[in-house]
């Protein structure tokens, strides 16, 4: 479904962040991408929905090369790719409902969108999704008055509102406290399972990747060094993925064990 071939990306003609990366995803699978900061995890996801433009390679979604698209055709492909962000990236001054409905902006005309005149089916779907993520009581609340966990639930609802073919999540739990972070991971994992939606998720948190992922991809300086199931990810592999960034890894494991002790 999603097929990435020889993807190269560098910023400002510097050293490439992604160095000829190859990755294919399968249906109905939660794929976690792990690696130290600077490994290229965010860049990879942002290349897929073209928030950044890759230098060369191919990214094919159902056979269409995303890197060649422009204008309306790019938008039509983007709306099939849901994205959840680390910093939620909701419009703070708009209400929860407006943010969720903005997930339909790729489908409705500009004028209808601007005037908030969405089709009844979209509104029904938005209510259903808000109920599913547990925010029914906040329909008309402004997003800047929500807590971090609540905001990320709105982010999940907005992404699913697109009725996407695939969901991208860029460190969706990194800005949250350990408990909320667990809940959000659980929500993403369950809801995408219900919808049979494949997920590509960047995770800083290795134990979370082990708990929730069907497949783990280890990224190191723009190259995939590990690709396998959670049971295959041994401590040896972790050391290889995080070599030179052991502090990063230790911090992650420590947070997880403290979290475990609190439960």
């Amino acid at each position: 479904m999603l097929q990435i071939t020889d993807l190269v990306k560098s910023y400002n003609n510097g050293e490439p962040v992604l160095k000829g990366l190859n990755l294919a995803t399968d249906e109905r699978r939660l794929t976690a991408i792990i690696g130290s900061s600077g490994a290229g995890k965010s860049t990879l996801l942002r290349c897929i929905n073209r928030l950044v433009t890759a230098d060369s390679g191919r990214i094919e979604l159902d056979g269409i090369n995303i890197l060649e698209l422009h204008g309306k055709r790019l938008q039509d492909t983007r709306r099939q790719i849901g994205m959840i962000f680390q910093a939620y990236n909701l419009v703070d001054r708009l209400t929860v409902m407006e943010n969720v409905l903005s997930g339909r902006l790729g489908y409705v005309g500009t004028l209808r969108g601007v005037l908030r005149r969405f089709p009844q089916s979209d509104i029904d779907r938005a209510y259903a999704l808000l109920k599913r993520v547990g925010l029914s009581q906040y329909v008309n609340t402004r997003c800047d008055s929500l807590s971090g966990g609540e905001r990320q639930r709105v982010g999940v609802a907005r992404a699913l509102m697109q009725n996407p073919r695939i969901l991208l999540a860029d460190e969706p739990t990194a800005s949250l406290d350990p408990k909320t972070s667990e809940r959000i991971m659980e929500l993403i994992s369950r809801i995408t399972d219900e919808l049979d939606l494949p997920v590509l998720i960047n995770l800083h948190n290795v134990p979370q990747a082990r708990d929730y992922a069907d497949r783990i991809v280890g990224l190191r300086y723009g190259v995939i060094v590990f690709d396998g199931g959670p049971q295959d990810l041994t401590d040896d592999w972790l050391e290889k993925i995080y070599a030179g960034h052991e502090d990063d890894l230790k911090k992650q494991m420590k947070v997880a064990s403290e979290d475990g002790a609190n439960e």
Binding site: L51, G82, R158, Q162
Partner: protein
């Protein structure tokens, strides 16, 4: 305890380290001051002659005369307020698209250049100069004043709104863009809500500024209370002039109070 016997000398470091430059600059400032004062050529004789005229003027201005030209004063103020309201509304409406054009993070380079140019031209001309231009273009009266104030609004609101647009949080834009939203839908959803409070604040502030400016542009013939004031001075009718000035101060105080309140509400 030998520490207590040690004394450190401390002085605030000089703003300019090098003594030559420090005292050199002071000397230059002193020379400039002497030179500037010497070019003033204050003529004591003219001051002495002017004193009785000034006394005469103030005597004429007290008590202020609201009555004999009351109709003209009221009409002048109504015209000024109308000019202000129309020009602010039209100016703000024009400022919004131009501000989007003049924001580097939104507009592509050629559009940005055009937007910036409009703002720079509107800002570089003082309302009095603009007033003179428009009076000679469309003739004396309120229409010239309205055009002047629209340009003035465009320069001020356009520039500050463009700056507000350049300071938005880009993550919110990415969030909406990632859904597949088009360019204008993204502007309406992710950019406009972020600058709306600023736009409201600027508009109210500009209303306040335009009220003041409407009196000034009248002095060059662009209608409103300024024209009435100019006529009153021209006729040495200081009592009416002082009445106009008092009403003007009153109205501006009230307007400032209201605009301050309103802007407080938009936070």
């Amino acid at each position: 305890m030998s520490d207590s016997t040690v004394h450190y000398r401390w002085k605030r470091p000089h703003f300019i380290e090098t003594p030559y430059i420090r005292y050199g600059l002071l000397a230059l400032a002193a020379i400039y001051l002497i030179f500037a004062l010497s070019t003033l050529r204050v003529n004591p004789q003219r001051i002495v002659e002017g004193i009785p005229r000034a006394i005469n003027m103030f005597r004429g201005a007290v008590p202020p005369d609201f009555e004999s030209r009351g109709g003209l004063i009221v009409r002048g103020f109504i015209e000024s307020i109308q000019m202000t309201l129309i020009a602010t509304a039209a100016g703000v409406a024009l400022s919004v698209p131009i501000a989007f054009m003049a924001a580097r993070n939104i507009a592509i380079l050629p559009i940005y250049a055009v937007g910036r140019m409009i703002v720079v031209v509107a800002r570089s001309l003082h309302p009095v100069v603009l007033g003179v231009l428009f009076v000679s273009a469309v003739g004396f009266g309120a229409f010239a004043g309205i055009l002047t104030l629209i340009m003035y609004t465009l320069g001020f609101v356009g520039k500050l709104l463009a700056e507000a647009i350049e300071e938005i949080k880009y993550g919110q834009v990415e969030g909406v863009r990632a859904t597949g939203a088009g360019f204008f839908a993204t502007l309406a959803y992710a950019v406009f809500p972020q600058v709306l409070p600023r736009l409201i604040g600027l508009s109210i502030y500009q209303l306040d500024i335009n009220l003041r400016a409407s009196a000034i542009v009248g002095l060059v013939g662009a209608g409103g209370i300024g024209a009435t004031l100019n006529t009153a001075f021209g006729r040495y009718d200081y009592a009416t002039a002082s009445a106009i000035l008092l009403v003007m101060i009153g109205i501006i105080l009230v307007a400032e109070g209201i605009s301050g309140r309103l802007r407080g509400l938009t936070k």
